[in-house]
Assembly symmetry: C2
């Protein structure tokens, strides 16, 4: 059991930990591929875990603390198999896709997953140099979306090639360009979101079919990338 | 100088600290009421501070560390007078107002300020039991919006009374109600946003003229409150 909290051990076995009572319940509800649950005897999910046939190990608070990265984890932790790349790393034709270019902040990635889950997007694609998707901060900020929205990793060059081959229009979010209120999202596309400080890479800006932005009138320099992703996914959803 | 980092000392004098090179530059750019800057000799803003006639004290890295709450603060920190309540704690007639009911997370409040700044809203109103507005985490997440968007504190009862007296329509964000795509925002109003876990208080839900929501189709339980505020302020702005 001591080895489950070692990141190396887990990623070599394609597993990650969901820490805390709420997330473990959410993982069961979402039918995530839970390999084992470690919980206090008092945890309210024990019966449900047994009913689902999930291996359950009762531990004490000190052991829970040792397994988890979180300070004061609550009552339970689950070891979960990382989802197989269900879409074989492909852009989805006839749907909307979102690509995060060099995203740095785990809270932002978790929040983007939560938004994608809300608006029913099938996957979130990240550049390989983005923050690691199964980082505990991502998992916590996703509020369980991590169990439902697969994270795909793809190089920008591959992404562009797939979009061109499948005639999927690429929309780059960039400053001082066409406001989304004047653009119709259509039935399929790829939304490109850039790094928190530097925005989108040159190669993606150049490859995009259209540059779009969210117009404001104040003096803020920019919107938070997850907030911008929320406004844009809502725009796609309601177009 | 040792006393400037004591919260008690500062709030008794209605001052707060903006920590880090970027924020201090932003405070100068925003014409915030800076009382004093403490900076390393190498800081690139020294000349500008002198040009603006702001008292500048050169310190070393150890002293900077002692003043700041941030770990590894960068190069400068400014002591700033809290803005006077420019609108005398009033709902603004003929404009859109936003009210945060029992907001708990400082990152969320900072992000809401940043969004309000982006869309040019004149103030953000918070219930008195919301997270403290001049908390360092709020200041950092606001990315400088804290210097431009005043935070007003108001009890729900007073808020409701002002809206009724001024015939300002109140929009409550709540689950499973009217989707915003079917509602026009109009020229004035109050947008009510609730606590991260519990949503809006009963008293506000009951007082609202209209309940609105952001429709989704996935299985997420909710959107992050700052993301929802972003989508709703964009809706107001583009209505």
């Amino acid at each position: 059991m001591t080895s489950v909290h070692q990141k190396k051990y887990r990623s070599a076995r394609n597993k990650f930990l969901a820490e805390g009572d709420k997330l473990v319940l959410e993982a069961m509800r979402s039918k995530a591929d839970i390999r084992e649950i470690f919980a206090l005897e008092s945890w309210k999910g024990c019966q449900e875990a047994e009913r689902l046939g999930i291996p359950l190990t009762l531990i004490n608070e000190k052991e829970l603390d040792q397994i988890c990265e979180l300070k004061n984890p609550k009552e339970a932790v689950a070891e979960i198999a990382m989802p197989k790349n269900v879409n074989s790393g492909r852009i989805l034709k006839g749907k909307w896709n979102i690509y995060m270019d060099r995203l740095r902040d785990p809270g932002n990635l978790g929040t983007v997953l939560r938004i994608a889950d809300w608006f029913g997007m099938d996957q979130v694609i990240c550049s390989p140099d983005s923050v690691e998707g199964y980082n505990q901060k991502v998992i916590q900020a996703s509020m369980g979306a991590i169990f439902r929205v697969p994270i795909i990793s793809m190089e920008a060059e591959e992404l562009i090639a797939q979009c061109k081959a499948n005639e999927i229009p690429m929309f780059a979010t960039a400053m001082s360009d066409k406001d989304i209120s004047g653009v119709k999202a259509g039935n399929e596309g790829l939304l490109l979101m850039g790094n928190e400080a530097q925005g989108l890479s040159e190669i993606l800006l150049r490859a995009a079919d259209e540059r779009i932005s969210i117009k404001g009138k104040g003096s803020a320099e920019s919107l938070n990338v997850a907030v911008a992703a929320g406004i844009l996914m809502h725009w796609i959803y309601s177009s």
